[in-house]
Symmetry: C2
Subunit: 160 residues, 2 copies
């Protein structure tokens, strides 16, 4: 019985979060320094990626904002940049005069795929040696469960 036997639930939660956070930092640092993100910052790629997964093709700006760790104003300007680069297109939302809908342009879709291929390869080169497939599945299950419990906005299910 070592020193950790009197671990409180609060402490356990804090250490778990720290471990999750540090792992994310370590992986992200490796990913973003790779050659995949020469043309586009990670946040920018993430927007293209999210749009590419959207079944209708169109996504509201505010929904996008749930996915990304950026303030509303920063996302607004990031999207503005992507539009200027011809990677996404905007359209006023038909049912809500305040809203804006976004979708990938052909060029944006192309770039997303190109970066995505390399990105996925990088990821699997980091995760593969680190965790067995069963462990990866379990990690996915736990993080998905964690995210689901945080609502109120449920992690928008996205039937391919």
């Amino acid at each position: 019985m070592a020193g950790k036997s009197t671990e409180s639930p609060v402490r356990l939660a804090a250490e778990t979060w720290e471990s999750l956070f540090r792992a994310q930092v370590a992986v992200m640092r490796k990913l973003q320094s790779g050659p995949a993100f020469r043309k586009l910052a990670v946040n920018e790629y993430d927007v293209l990626f999210t749009l590419s997964r959207c079944p209708s093709g169109w996504l509201r700006l505010n929904e996008l904002n749930d996915n990304v760790l950026l303030s509303q104003s920063s996302l607004s300007r990031l999207v503005e940049r992507l539009e200027k680069r011809g990677l996404i297109a905007r359209m006023p939302a038909p049912e809500d005069g305040r809203g804006v809908l976004l979708k990938l342009t052909d060029e944006g879709r192309e770039l997303q795929k190109e970066i995505g291929r390399e990105h996925v390869r990088d990821i699997s080169e980091l995760m593969g040696p680190a965790l067995t497939p069963a462990e990866q599945k379990e990690l996915m299950r736990l993080t998905t469960k964690l995210r689901s419990s945080l609502g109120p906005r449920p992690p928008r299910q996205d039937p391919r």
Copy 2:
């Protein structure tokens, strides 16, 4: 046997990483918007926290940089700000004329503890309802293992 049975290892790794990443984003968003971080940004708190865990009390700037998702120059300036606010102190490294050692001031330690208490409470309010203690332990194990496998720099073990 549902449609995912033909999942490739590469795809599994990518989906696992995405799940981990989104969970981190979702939790972090809640944490950083809370009242705990009114006085200090999360990154700044994180530096104080890391210093507070350092057994010797002193830590090299470049070691700190492994922990945080910031470029070297950004961390350099962040530290400069913290020093200006009287929260940390610098000292030239005794054995390496290029290096800088950092430690908390009393005021910095005080503020870290104050924010830390609230922060830990917030974390456990998010994690507690989401995952059982056993699940949290497993999540911690998996993320620790992931991080350990990324080396070369091993996650500096820190015997309290």
